[in-house]
């Protein structure tokens, strides 16, 4: 007859150590990576949208857009790098809402695992997918004529900034997914911040061409600040003063939405 009493050596009620928290996180990340690999159609869908935008603005609309001092392809492609990372993040909201509805979150919350590990594991897996998507879209950008003009270090810093912004923004999607609770609504709701931040930004056209009432927002919102910094890093010109602003935005978004997401997760009810 198996011993069903608690084995204190194997299951410990002691406070969870950092080592165990990291182990929980790796377990959850692995689970989510397996899910991503096993739904290649979802991965594919997140690549289609930035590909269309890239081709549209490179070949269809790009010819009509003039940007002073820069080839339009070099102007627009860095913005689309960011978009490729942001659009993939929508699957974070979808995945969390799905887990909530299916009861997976109940299962995990009833286990002695670290609570934050569930969400960090989710976002880290999505970060891996975002990096993959970014690599794809960088390749495509190079194919259609985009070129890095600065030092490898600056280019890597620009790519790191895109990844950092994408990761911070994943937490916005995490909060949305946990707040709306329904996969379909989560998907619809996530489109909105992405569209506003991407289209009302300096990603596709210079902010100076926008109406006066829109310019203050478009100039200072986090996506514009980040794209401007990234573009400067890729072009090798003077790095805009707003590089530090971009980094602060990333940190701010991360801290605020990590806190919101964790609070929502602790209270999660399908």
């Amino acid at each position: 007859m198996p011993d069903l009493a608690l084995d204190p050596d194997l299951v410990s009620a002691a406070p969870v150590t950092l080592g165990l928290a990291v182990r929980d996180m790796k377990g959850i990340t692995k689970r989510n990576l397996l899910r991503i690999i096993r739904t290649p159609q979802l991965l594919f869908m997140t690549l289609v949208q930035p590909t269309i935008i890239l081709l549209l603005f490179r070949y269809v609309l790009g010819g009509a857009i003039r940007v002073p001092g820069l080839d339009y392809v070099d102007y627009v492609v860095p913005g689309i790098f960011l978009e490729a990372v942001l659009i993939g993040g929508m699957t974070t909201a979808l995945a969390l809402a799905t887990d909530l509805q299916a009861g997976m979150i109940d299962r995990f919350r009833s286990l002695p695992m670290t609570r934050s590990a569930f969400l960090i594991g989710r976002t880290l897996a999505d970060l891996c997918r975002a990096v993959l998507a970014l690599a794809f879209i960088i390749g495509l950008g190079l194919l259609v004529g985009f070129r890095f003009h600065s030092s490898p270090g600056a280019c890597l810093a620009g790519i790191a900034l895109i990844v950092g912004f994408g990761y911070a923004f994943t937490w916005v999607y995490a909060a949305i997914g946990l707040a709306v609770k329904d996969p379909q609504t989560a998907q619809m709701t996530s489109i909105l911040p992405m569209f506003i931040l991407f289209f009302a930004s300096s990603a596709l056209v210079p902010v100076s061409t926008m109406p006066g009432w829109l310019q203050p927002f478009a100039q200072n919102q986090p996506a514009s600040v980040t794209i401007d910094s990234v573009r400067a890093l890729f072009e090798g010109g003077p790095v805009y003063h707003d590089l530090w602003q971009a980094v602060l935005w990333c940190l701010g978004i991360f801290v605020v939405f990590f806190t919101i997401s964790l609070t929502l997760y602790r209270r999660a009810t399908a």
Partner: protein, 328 residues
Amino acid sequence: MDSAIEVEHVSKRFGATLALDDVSLVVGSGKVLALLGPNGAGKTTLVRVLTTLLRPDSGRARVGGFDVDTDARTIRTLIGLAGQYATVDELLTGRENLELVGLLYHLPRSEYERRAQEALERMTLVDAGDKPVKTYSGGMRRRLDLAASLIGRPPILFLDEPTTGLDPRTRNDLWALIEELVAEGTTVLLTTQYMEEAEHLAHRIVVMDSGRVVAQGTADELKDHLGGNVLEVQVVDRVDLDKAAALIVGLAGGPPRVDPDLRQISFPIDGGANVLIAAGRALGDAGIDVEDLGIRRPSLDEVFLSLTGHTTTPQSGRTAPATGDTHA
């Protein structure tokens, strides 16, 4: 530790709905308690409170001696949760699901790999163990779900409607598994809409309706609520039915019900064995051949109906009168 689960005056409100209304109950260590009630009775809400998924608005609840408000983390090392709402990952294989849960119970790798294999064997899922769960049948999925809740070898197990939607054979398999666990000393709190399940598995039954505990006790005690027993006589020859009924009607506590097809008469009676003996003697003296004679307890369905005014299954439940209906 005498009681594994203690609930004292727990209430929980969702908006205008009082999901739990001053619920109190105790589950003895190593015992099985069934929460019986229709959908919306508050069964799942209570399970969610006890498994630390939901905080009660008021009242106290202890699991394994620990308070759900202050020792939630400790409780999570002591419990397993399975059933309709806790689930398994469809895109992972059965084994991957079990190993992940083992890892999250903070078991060493070699240990959770061994336990996952054992659990697959026990639940007869070895062949399917390395296939994605989405290819599993409903019964296989429930077995895997139960296996996942057992990976940490929890002394206290919560099963939320473990057999809802399963076919009878699969349900019986699952019952046998639950009985094995109980034989090994696991305390079980299960929720069910099925009388038969509560009666089959549970030592004690708590009947819930609209967030309140309306009755609790053993199946027998609950049946005593209804008062008395039912005497059933089955005669060999149908022509004896009326004669038999006339002979023993004086012993009955209520009007007899005669079923000619089954050649059966049933009466509510107030007494017990003495009535049975008297009935047997009267029938024997009259020379009536009796196929079967016995005292039957009222069914739990009859008990539930008398306690709540409706049955447990939603489709046969009480229907509200239509407000616009003025026609005769």
